[in-house]
Symmetry: C3
């Protein structure tokens, strides 16, 4: 069992099934050492679990849960695309979009829930640059959307 899967087990985290794309696109592309993951939402069992804005329909605590759930969906896609982490090198970039009312500005705090989850699960390989955004609304009326670029090994050489 890969070290990352061991850590998931220790943390008592079960990754969701990788979501199906919402349209005519691929969930993930690995190319020349880069892995692009399509935008991920707080989905579980095919359902969007957190809708609406932080500051109105959702509070900060719920928004943190939404960010964690979206992060688990990111991890589920990376695991599948990297043959259970064998080709996974590290995260590179996380964009976090939090649907927000006009007067609520603590998006970095919510996004830290995702960053810390990546840190716990992926260790050193989870370090990333980050950019937070505060749109009024997101597609599907989701509360959180995460967009990740990661680094992968092109060959199937065992890593780590």
């Amino acid at each position: 069992m890969h070290a990352i899967d061991k850590r998931l087990r220790q943390l008592d985290i079960e990754l969701p099934q990788p979501t199906r794309p919402a349209g005519a696109y691929l969930p993930v592309i690995c190319q020349d050492g880069l892995l692009f993951v399509s935008g991920q939402f707080p989905m579980l069992d095919g359902e969007l679990r957190y809708r609406g804005q932080v500051g109105r329909q959702q509070d900060v605590a719920n928004a943190c849960l939404a960010a964690e759930l979206a992060a688990l969906n990111v991890l589920a896609h990376i695991r599948q695309a990297t043959h259970h982490w064998q080709r996974f090198a590290s995260l590179l970039r996380l964009e976090g979009h939090i649907a927000s009312t006009a007067d609520w500005h603590q998006q970095p705090e919510v996004l830290d829930s995702a960053s810390q989850l990546f840190d716990q699960v992926l260790g050193e390989q989870g370090r990333h640059t980050r950019t937070a955004f505060a749109p009024s609304h997101l597609p599907l009326d989701a509360t959180v959307e995460l967009v990740v670029i990661a680094r992968v090994y092109d060959s199937h050489s065992p890593s780590v």
Copy 2:
């Protein structure tokens, strides 16, 4: 004639002239196998053809036309930057921003018009990851903005 240009002809699609940048930047950069295309709007003959929000000034059908027109502008830049497709390898990533009212959430449906156009014109080379966004407004009051990263061959070796 390149296979992609043949498909464009069969589909009776004529690509617009590549747009000029709206400021002090380049429309496209090819570097180390990656091609970054600056944000593209639904422009034709130097004019923005679709303005305002879906749900107010524009309906879903018009928004789909706007997404297609922005996609044609993306293709016009890629064709020019890759010496009429010779250096073009494939799309990698599409970001689609649809100016939306607060209560309209079907952005993926609109963005599918762009994804399907890429699929029809580029075939296998048009496959991409995707992320949809639902901003209230876009620069120039545009209805749609598309941001694409593609993969290119660094040398001028004939591809495909």
Copy 3:
């Protein structure tokens, strides 16, 4: 002294201290020739200097100053990450997010302040693709947020 530092001196520009991340992430990652810079705000001495929307709390002239200050923060991080420009090859991509009221659409004009600063300081190496956005609000209630991807030399070979 590197040519870029000389140009900074001639322009009488002193770069700010690189900002600390607002959470559990890295300000910069250099990997395989790409440098990802986390989202930068108009910060000086640890304080956000421009808050609120263009069209309400800020006018266009102030927004241009905000864009320049955010651009200086980008440059401060690139200088630090590239050993005082030695590994810096060129900019690739600039995303500019300008917090905007619903009826103000001249975001490209504001973003030109950042693009022209990069041009003045970095010369040919400052050329970039660009995408403008017009969100209602940004994290921390900032007026401007810039996201940059640059190209770097992997080894410490002297460049330029």
